[in-house]
Symmetry: C2
Subunit: 708 residues, 2 copies
């Protein structure tokens, strides 16, 4: 084991004896399996399921070229073309067939918004090459409170990403396998469990393996649009499966899209279509993973991504119109054929319908489109499983969430965060029955809240820069950038208002309430940690920061004269306390006379005190005696040595240690008391003991190769 | 606070300086409420519900004269007259009306058995004036293993006592209030909860208050039998409510009581009637509560009790026949009137039917009989709530059950045992729907197992005496007594066989299985404690029983430089360890550089060591470092000081102490390590802290008056 001493002032290695700073940096690395309950072999099982643990340094090896970074970060953004057009059409359908004429304009509006957001996000990427995304931008520029708002918005948004993507993937599955129709909820839950396990194992392979399905998706969808366009131009374009139906408009829209109601509906369709913008922030989070020049590559990737998404969305909407797609929320009530309601029609997503029309129903290309779309949706959910724990970890580090969320588990995964996300999304899918249109209502609020605040943050960021930079050329450049972000802020905030107005009564209130709850929780946690911190802070004016106690009497708890007791006595006297005393409680069960006799026979050099307990309570006489000792001098610290057993089996724990634990819990209520546990490993615990020690040794051997 | 030093060899007080034995007996008594969870005010609530705690010395004041002892111990035995005759009639009814002619003979057989048992138990009482009952007799004379058998049998029997008594009390309740018919299960459960609360509060009042209802019961039942006899002799005896019905015999008994089937049925009826013998052992358990001459008074009380029971049983059976009682298990299927099944008849217990016939249906005396019988049944259950915890405590003391059962709670009650009994009997009542006839099947096995073994034990006890006593007169006397017990053993064992044969398939297997399970459990517990004891025993040949460690290096766990850390450092250095070192783990979250800088600024005189943690595990580097220290010398003991927070609210516990607790749990797996917890009371915990200290102080003040 190598030990280095470094002089903190110079950073140079120092011989042990001369370390002025008296600080030793121990590069002795250790690795270990996670904690075990004695008797269970969770570590073995975990190792089998999850594989070998990763060292932190492995993280840094993951640097991707643009061609591999695009698929890695694009899946979330690209996947939204699998449901955004659907939602536009579905919403417009409320006003009947005529409203579909508006759909290309709605799509165009969404594309325009995407352009603005992409342009603004380029600056995010360029100004924050260390990554961090919207949360980082807001926290740095707008403060902790706004950071918490963004944090809660993004946390909710990640849950919804998983719920929406997986639910839609389930619908694509039943689109390709109609026999599974009606089982979407269970398919979705199964997929979430699958992606959870994959993520608990870690995503080291992500770079290369992700590329294939994403490129396949882009390729097949591109081919679909291309072929569809060619067919439309040559007049050979087929019809969608739903082309033969009519849409029964909602009662409020008998006249079609007119007046305020119509305008609102178009806005609703627009805000549903804005679901296409989700996923853009993944790139700004992942800038460190790009090859240098990181920012530039990331920015370029962002633009490419935005362009591809836009083309897809427009193309899908246009082709949907050309093939006569009728897409509604509830086919049974809204679709009619010749005036009669349709009962046996199973609706499939828009892309699937277009693929049927362009490629033909049984064509292998149809299934390629379906499968690759489904896989991309799955990967989008996977992205959320990276982002959520990262965010939770960042929040925990800034003390907005409980500290155990900052721990990384094995294989570079944040186990706690992953599990939380999994449970939340399963619950959501189960409650909504995997209904994507319902989930979409909740979806976009979080994203736009954080977009909006992030753009404000960027604007302020540039303003801060302008205050210090004097060069005219640079000032103009920064001012131009700031203008872009300020404009984006205005636009995005407007869209946010539109989204809230149109979606709040339809389901967004759930997301908003969740965000509010999370925000309150995080504020409370943060406040608590702050309060504790100030409570514990060392007073700066204190003369001696480390006032030593005048005396430290030692008490050893004795019940009988056996080996654990002897060990406790030996240990206690080895610490050379001011005074030492053994105490035994007479609670009708202990034969203290026999103990005292043996004490005398063995000529034990430590005084034994018998405490009388008329109320048969074990802790009370001990506590009273300790309080008596403490009252004698206000600067004494009493150290109480309590023997405890380490047991091998869970049921043995029922048979031992009760009085000891209760006593320790009560002793902790007294000031100036230290409770020293003297463990004795029972024979049955030998296996657990060996296992712990073996793990430490093997991990230390493994880690030796990594010594800094 | 008074401290006395007593020289153990002479027992005389010794001045402090001269205490050769170095043993101090501290008569400083303390009393305290039971342990609290911080934040809950259970102690205040408990005190309100349960009253002031009792000192052990109050126990000894409970000495009763015969006239008060009889009711105290008789309720269990007397109460069985409220269901034993019912069971005899019910069983015989399977063979139709004609079988009822046999009932007085069955009752006579039961009475004869009772005479034998009473006679044999007199010797129990006389030979064991310290009390202890069957368990004590068997353990002393037949050994631990047999003692465990009796222990498990009696534990099961106590549960059944409660279940049977309370269920029958519920039936008496609905007998008097027919509107409650059908609610017996819930009434029974409610009564069990009531008796549980009463017993948790303690039974100090038991002596005097029990006397009234028991004497009332004896008086009213005696009056009933007397008046009934007079009426029968003068021909004015009325009819029971069920007199107008006929009993449909079971298919197997078309011919009435003939051949083997008939004989078996009579034996079944007899063994059901043996339920009348339960409760006899209560007196042998309670001998210490009698006024001197204890044994003689107890023996006399026993005989009186047996006589009264016998008279009651015989009287009830005879009067039942005279008034034409028809008592069956299921009136709806077994009773007929003019050949047609009876549907609207609500059956009430036999005593109630007799009372209706003798006193008249609406007469106040009828209700007196009903109420007093119900109360006596309730008190019988109450007796079990005394016996069960006492027995569990005795079993725990001989290490057959977990040690926490040996603790007495407040108010001279054994809280854990009471709660266990309560839960078990509620479960049983709920599962059987308060059906007494089903519960009776399980009931008597336990009692007769312990009777049988106890008589064997007494026989052996007398044999042991005969081996040492030479005087002819005494030998003959002891031999006569031994003959009685030997005969009782033979008879009781025969009855046990009958009981098992007749009842095993009908429900007794449940009780036998439970007994077996308990016996296995107790054997396991006993074996475990024995093994641990021998594992921990001090080797007798060891030169130095208390080998001191060569060195005791101290490690202090540090995460930041705050007050708790400083306290831990101060405490650690005050114990004057061989070496002391502060360790801080670099797990990506701790800014160790800042801590090290501050360390240097404050010029802390303790070296700081930074442990590198590449796998981001908190415990592992610490464990590895400790193992390294241990490996340097096989006689070192490492003391690790870990700061911990005492929190005020439960949710604060979610935010702190996790790493510390996990580390402590793992450290306990290493040999020669002592884990010292340095508690820091957070501000929010101040209330809990004050409360604990106040309780200790007030209890000490109270206890001062009791100083020996």
């Amino acid at each position: 084991m190598i030990t280095k001493c470094i002089d903190l002032s110079s950073g140079a290695p120092v011989a042990l004896g001369a370390a002025r700073a008296r600080v030793t940096i121990d590069p002795w690395p250790c690795g270990l399996t996670v904690d075990r309950v004695p008797g269970l072999t969770t570590s073995t099982i975990k190792r089998a399921l999850l594989g070998r643990a990763f060292a932190t340094e492995d993280l840094s090896r993951e640097r991707l070229p643009k061609r591999l970074a695009l698929p890695t970060f694009a899946s979330d953004a690209l996947s939204s073309v699998a449901y955004a057009p659907d939602e536009i059409l579905l919403t417009l359908a409320l006003a009947g067939m005529t409203a579909y004429a508006v759909s290309p304009w709605v799509a165009l509006a969404v594309v325009a918004l995407m352009a603005v957001v992409v342009a603004a996000n380029r600056h995010n990427v360029q100004e924050y090459p260390d990554g961090g995304g919207d949360y980082r931008v807001v926290q740095d520029n707008l403060g902790q409170r706004a950071g918490r708002v963004v944090g809660s918005a993004l946390l909710v948004d990640y849950v919804l990403t998983v719920a929406v993507s997986i639910s839609q993937a389930a619908h694509y599955t039943t689109g390709g396998l109609p026999v599974l129709h009606g089982w979407e909820t269970w398919i979705a839950i199964g997929l979430i469990i699958l992606v959870t396990l994959v993520n608990l194992r870690g995503v080291r392979e992500s770079g290369r393996t992700l590329a294939i399905p994403v490129y396949l998706f882009m390729g097949s969808l591109g081919l679909l649009l291309l072929l569809g366009a060619v067919q439309a131009l040559t007049g050979t374009l087929g019809h969608a499966p739903s082309a033969g139906y009519e849409i029964e408009p909602d009662a409020a829209f008998d006249q079609g899209l007119t007046a305020l109601g119509g305008a609102l509906l178009v806005l609703r369709a627009f805000s549903s279509g804005c679901a296409a913008l989700t996923g853009v922030e993944a790139i700004s989070n992942g800038v460190p993973s790009f090859r240098p020049p990181k920012s530039r590559n990331a920015a370029t990737t962002l633009v490419i991504l935005g362009a591809i998404s836009s083309v897809f969305i427009l193309g899908i909407i246009v082709l949907a119109g050309a093939t006569g797609v009728r897409y509604v929320e509830d086919p049974a009530t809204q679709l009619t054929r010749d005036g009669a309601q349709v009962t046996d029609y199973q609706q499939i997503p828009v892309i699937a319908q277009i693929a049927q029309a362009v490629f033909g129903g049984g064509s292998p290309l149809f299934y390629v489109v379906l499968i690759s779309t489904g896989v991309v949706l799955f990967l989008a959910a996977n992205t959320a499983f990276n982002g959520f724990p990262n965010l939770a970890c960042a929040l925990a580090r800034s003390r907005n969430l409980p500290r155990q969320l900052r721990q990384r588990g094995d294989r570079l995964a944040y186990s706690n965060g992953i599990l939380a996300l999994s449970l939340a999304s399963i619950l959501l899918v189960w409650l909504t029955g995997a209904r994507v249109s319902l989930l979409i209502q909740m979806y976009i609020v979080g994203v736009f809240v954080s977009f909006s605040l992030a753009q404000l943050g960027m604007t302020i960021h540039f303003s801060k820069q302008l205050r210090v930079i004097t060069s005219g050329v640079q000032r103009r450049r920064i001012a131009r950038r700031r203008a872009v972000n300020a404009f984006a802020f205005a636009v995005v905030t407007l869209v946010l208002v539109i989204v809230l107005v149109t979606k709040l009564p339809h389901g967004a209130w759930v997301a908003v309430s969740a965000m509010l709850l999370l925000w309150l929780l995080m504020s409370g946690v943060h406040r608590h940690y702050q309060r504790v911190r100030s409570e514990l802070a060392l007073p700066t004016d204190q003369e001696d920061p480390m006032p030593r106690p005048a005396r430290s009497p030692a008490l050893v708890l004795v019940a009988s004269l056996d080996r654990p007791t002897m060990r406790a006595l030996a240990v206690a006297s080895a610490t050379r306390p001011t005074t030492i005393e053994a105490i035994i409680v007479d609670d009708e069960d202990v034969d203290w006379r026999a103990v005292a006799d043996r004490w005398r026979d063995l000529d034990v050099q430590i005084p034994l005190r018998v405490l009388y307990a008329p109320y048969r309570q074990f802790s009370a006489p001990v506590l009273a005696h300790v309080m008596n000792l403490l009252s004698r001098s206000p600067r004494d610290e009493v150290v109480v040595y309590i023997p405890e057993f380490l047991v091998g089996h869970w049921w043995e724990a029922l048979l031992h240690n009760h009085s000891a634990r209760r006593l320790r819990a009560r002793l902790e209520h007294l000031p100036r008391v230290v409770v020293a546990t003297v463990p004795w490993q029972l024979g049955s615990a030998q296996e657990a003991v060996d296992q712990v020690q073996d793990e430490v040794r093997s991990a230390a051997l493994r880690g030796r190769g990594r010594a800094r």
